[in-house]
Amino acid sequence: MAGERRWISPALEDGANVLYLQGRWRLSHVPGIAAEIDALKLAGDHCVLDGSRLEELDTAAGFLLLRRLAALGCIAGTVEVRSMADGHSRLLTLVRERMAAPSVAAPSGHRGALERVGRATIRIWRILQAQVTFLGQVALEIAAALRRPRLFRLKETVSQFETVTLDAIPIVALVTFLIGVVFAYLLGVQAQRFGATIFVVDGVGLAICRELSPILVAVIVAGRSGAAFTAQIGSMKVQEETDAIRTLGLSPIQVLVVPRLVAIMAGLPLLVFVGDVAGIAGGMLIGALQLDISPAAFLARLHTVLPMTALAVGLAKAPVFAAFIALIACRMGLAVARDARSVGEHTTSTVVQSIVWVIVLDAIFAVALQRLGI
């Protein structure tokens, strides 16, 4: 018999394998026990477990022992138990009954890079498909609300409008103001070299009204309200509130989606206008401090060089961005599965999708309007 055996002493008695189990077979000792179990060798497929020196036994240790014995060919019929405490032998019996199933549960979640990219591509396609379906459903609900105005939820819409628009004014004004400052400053540094500082007014006015304010405001709203929509509707889905709405004979789209869609489509152009004003104010501040353009001169110049169409284009883009943000956010909310992680994932996805779509739409607008000569 080999020297240091703490847990099992094998012996041959009358030609039979006898395993004396000894000590405290607890989970905390399992690494050591497992090593001895793995080193175990038997002559033949019959063995006797002697529990006379066993102090404690738990299921983990018992399971590892029986698993090893099974691997060596000793199964229920050929393992004999002797002088073991009642509790221990009952435990072994339970373990043997329950371990019948093969014990492999290691998650095999690792995928190759190609497979991941492929899956992600298919997912994008699915999202697009679902998005188009959802757009159709929402259009039908809006048509229903137009036929029967009673369906439209004015109170909910107003309350959404307040959170989407009024509460966002400070942050929108701050961000666009700072962008106006940065833009005027950088433009001014260049223009000063040519003594053409007055053109900073043209640049700031055009850029803020036509591009920067709509995009920035849309991104802020996507992050603020889009994420909130998904999280709100997603949590309602988890609590089965959307099912409750449906069983009450109401449409979740009519109750949850349409008010948010209307609120954000009405609110975003207003926020863009706030952004226009704040951005130009930022430019004006730099004009006065850095470029020797007095506010009066700035406004006079702006009056002559900023075409109404630039302002109109900027404001006209806003409801389109808004519709995409609301539709994406609400659909992602309704697509949440019944767990907390899903709410988080969908919220992240809403923000990413919204921002991507805002930029894609802006590019489409830029090219289309150029072609149209606006």
Binding site: P31, D58, A105
Partner: protein, 252 residues
């Protein structure tokens, strides 16, 4: 008999609300004990106080020889490895698969190598009557009964001496509930596990429980084998058992 849980003179107040007004009882090793009481009698609160999640206003909880509210954090941490808790809705970690959920206690509290954790997780799943394939699923893909079984497997991972169950059969269909009862009883009998549960389920009480403790108006109003508790003349207990008792007595 060894006392593994002793609750003495527990008083709990939330503001002016007195939830417990001197609650006391003890549990011996190997017993399967149920705590019953109407809604709002502070059963779940008491459970949280016993396992160190919520501090009682006054009183003492002695769990496995350690005073839960007088000992330092280190002792309580060591104690936490010696009992398992099954929360009402399972409380599985939704970001992990079933197998990873069960592996959490192994990874956090033992130095077992991964090569041993995987088969042990598989075994724990079969111990609670699930197939190892379940391990790859996410908790959100499981039915209520399966979630409870997985939660039980996780609670049993570290081979606890005491198992606390909070309404283990609520939300299960009668077949699933009885199967869960039998599982708990089998584990208790074979592993020598002490089980303390809060339950509303009369069938559970009448089938697998050794002793019932009834809580009403902040006090223990009855404590003993189910049959003895049923004979109590306290109006709440009378009402509690009257709905089902005649029928149940006939069948069991």
């Amino acid at each position: 008999m060894e006392t593994v849980l002793e609750v003495q003179d527990i008083v709990t107040r939330f503001g002016a609300d007195v939830v417990h007004d001197g609650v006391g009882f003890s549990v011996q090793r190997g017993e399967v004990v149920a705590l019953i009481g109407g809604s709002g009698t502070g059963k779940s609160v008491l459970l949280k106080e016993m396992i160190g999640l919520l501090r009682p206003t006054a009183g003492r909880v002695q769990l496995l020889g350690i005073d839960v509210w007088q000992s330092d954090e280190e002792q309580v941490d060591a104690l936490r490895r010696r009992f398992g808790m099954l929360f009402q809705d399972g409380a599985l970690f939704s970001s992990l698969t079933v197998a990873e959920n069960i592996a959490v206690p192994f990874r956090e509290h033992t130095d077992l190598p991964e090569a041993l954790i995987a088969p042990l997780v598989g075994f724990k799943l079969s111990l609670v009557g699930l197939t190892p394939e379940t391990g790859r699923k996410a908790p959100s893909e499981l039915s209520g009964g399966m979630r409870k079984r997985v939660a039980l497997a996780r609670a049993l991972a570290l081979e606890p001496e005491i198992l606390f169950l909070d309404e283990p059969t609520s939300g299960l269909d009668p077949i699933g509930a009885r199967a869960f009862d039998r599982l708990v009883r089998a584990l208790s009998d074979s592993l020598g596990l002490t089980v303390f549960m809060v339950t509303h389920d009369l069938d559970t009480l009448l089938s697998i429980i050794d002793r019932t403790i009834a809580l009403s108006q902040g006090k223990v109003i009855a404590d003993g084998p189910v049959a003895a508790v049923m004979r109590s003349d306290h109006p709440w207990i009378q009402e509690y058992f009257s709905a089902r008792a005649p029928h149940e007595e006939g069948t069991r």
